[in-house]
């Protein structure tokens, strides 16, 4: 009975998801597409929760829907044309349709086959057997920052690269018109809340859903909100400092890794006794980095003093 109930819920969620995805991809108006996309992000968050992936639910809500939503929305203003049209010929259109359809069938077949052939255990048992020595009790955090910490490090490198690109490419975001008093009012109590929450998420990540990414993104969200409410505020941000923070977090991560290598002759091989502490350190560092990164990615612009590495000198820019 309960099974069937769940099945109905699941099917509704899935259908809704597919519908949203389809409308996002086929809507003719950019603004509409972006809004639908954000909605899809939120729905995904719910689905992650349903599939017992609370960490993801958080991350998706904040990052997937929140941050990238903000980025996309702000990008729309840069776009002269908001109408979406495909330039493909009808023939090409048909080819693409058939191709994707065939691919869907093949992949579905493969997925079905895969789920049947697998024992269904995969790595979960290995993980749970090693949790005790991992220094944290939240398995996802254990995987992210201990078992597969190297992935996380490289991922931070990806973030860094992207941010560098953003900084290189564009000047600071121009001041947009002052925003509504309502937004400001909301910001006044929302920003502190966000900051506190991010702190909590960081701390709780060790044993419950949460962790560096959610926390960092939360902080960034706070910054972005400020920026939205008080468009001129970024003048206050010291972008050089942000950049230092961004680097410092990753730097710490690498240093811990190397230090542990000197101690236990494998990169990032934590001494079990310290594992908890080390992970907390890394998480804090990562949180700062990610917050700085996402903020910079939103605010954009080449920080003053980019050329000389000295924030006092305002660098000569070749904006063209």
């Amino acid at each position: 009975m309960i099974e069937i109930l769940w099945f109905l819920v699941d099917s509704m969620l899935v259908l809704l998801l597919l519908a949203l995805a389809w409308t996002t991809c086929s809507s003719r108006d950019v603004m509409r597409a972006v809004t639908l996309f954000i909605a899809m992000g939120l729905l995904l968050a719910i689905i992650w929760a349903r599939l017992k992936a609370p960490d993801l639910a958080l991350a998706e809500a904040i990052i997937g829907a929140g941050v990238s939503g903000a980025l996309l929305l702000s990008a729309i203003s840069d776009y002269p044309s908001t109408a979406i049209t495909s330039h493909r010929s009808p023939l090409m259109h048909g080819i693409i349709n058939t191709f994707t359809l065939a691919l869907t069938i093949l992949m579905s077949w493969a997925v079905w086959h895969g789920l049947n052939m697998s024992d269904g255990v995969r790595l979960s048992e290995q993980v749970s057997s090693q949790i005790p020595v991992s220094g944290v009790s939240n398995p996802v955090t254990a995987v992210l920052l201990n078992f597969r910490a190297y992935d996380t490090l490289l991922e931070l490198a990806v973030v860094l690269t992207a941010v560098l690109a953003v900084l290189i490419l564009n000047d600071k975001r121009a001041d947009s018109a002052a925003s509504s008093p309502l937004l400001r009012g909301m910001t006044r109590w929302l920003v502190p809340l966000l900051v506190v929450t991010s702190g909590y998420l960081l701390w709780v990540g060790a044993h419950a859903p949460g962790g560096a990414f959610q926390a960092g993104a939360m902080l960034a969200a706070a910054m972005i909100l400020l920026q939205l409410a008080y468009p001129s505020i970024h003048r206050g941000f010291n972008l050089y400092l942000l950049r230092v923070l961004l680097v410092a977090g990753i730097f710490t991560f690498v240093l811990v890794g190397l230090w542990m290598m000197s101690a236990n002759d494998d990169f990032l091989a934590y001494t079990p006794a310290w594992a908890g502490t080390l992970i907390l350190i890394i998480e804090t560092a990562a949180t700062i980095s990610i917050a700085a990164a996402l903020t910079l990615a939103y605010i954009g612009g080449r920080p003053t003093g980019w050329e000389t590495g000295d924030h006092v000198i305002t660098g000569k820019e070749d904006a063209g």
């Binding site: 699941d10 899935v14 597919l18 995805a21 996002t24 991809c25 597409a33 972006v34 996309f37 899809m40 995904l44 689905i47 599939l51 992936a53 960490d55 993801l56 991350a59 990052i63 997937g64 941050v67 990238s68 996309l72 990008a75 840069d78 776009y79 002269p80 979406i84 049209t85 259109h93 693409i96 994707t100 359809l101 869907t104 992949m107 579905s108 997925v111 079905w112 895969g114 789920l115 995969r122 790595l123 979960s124 996802v140 254990a142 992210l144 078992f147 597969r148 992935d151 991922e155 690269t161 992207a162 941010v163 690109a165 953003v166 564009n170 990414f213 990610i290 996402l294 990615a297 939103y298």
Partner: protein, 104 residues
Amino acid sequence: MISTQLLYSLAGVGLFAIGLRATLLHHLLLPRLLALNVCGAGVFLIFIAVAYAGIEGMADPVPHALVLTGIVVAVSATAMALALGRRLESKESETMKSEAMKDE
């Protein structure tokens, strides 16, 4: 339980296909970016559906971690793509201006 996994992973496949189709169809940056993100979401969904182990069972945490990584990567890429687009826009408006200058 396998039915739930199957349902959601098939949904993932569907999402992937929808995104892929749109990516191939569109040439404008922004729609293509949305499509790519949908595409990615599809892949993530497959991972998480596979990780699901029933209401009682403890889900496989590894895919969760992987997808978390994936999400962050996706955001970074999106930010970068948007920055590129913005730069190109400004360039093109510049060239337009300069051409207008020439005409006068």
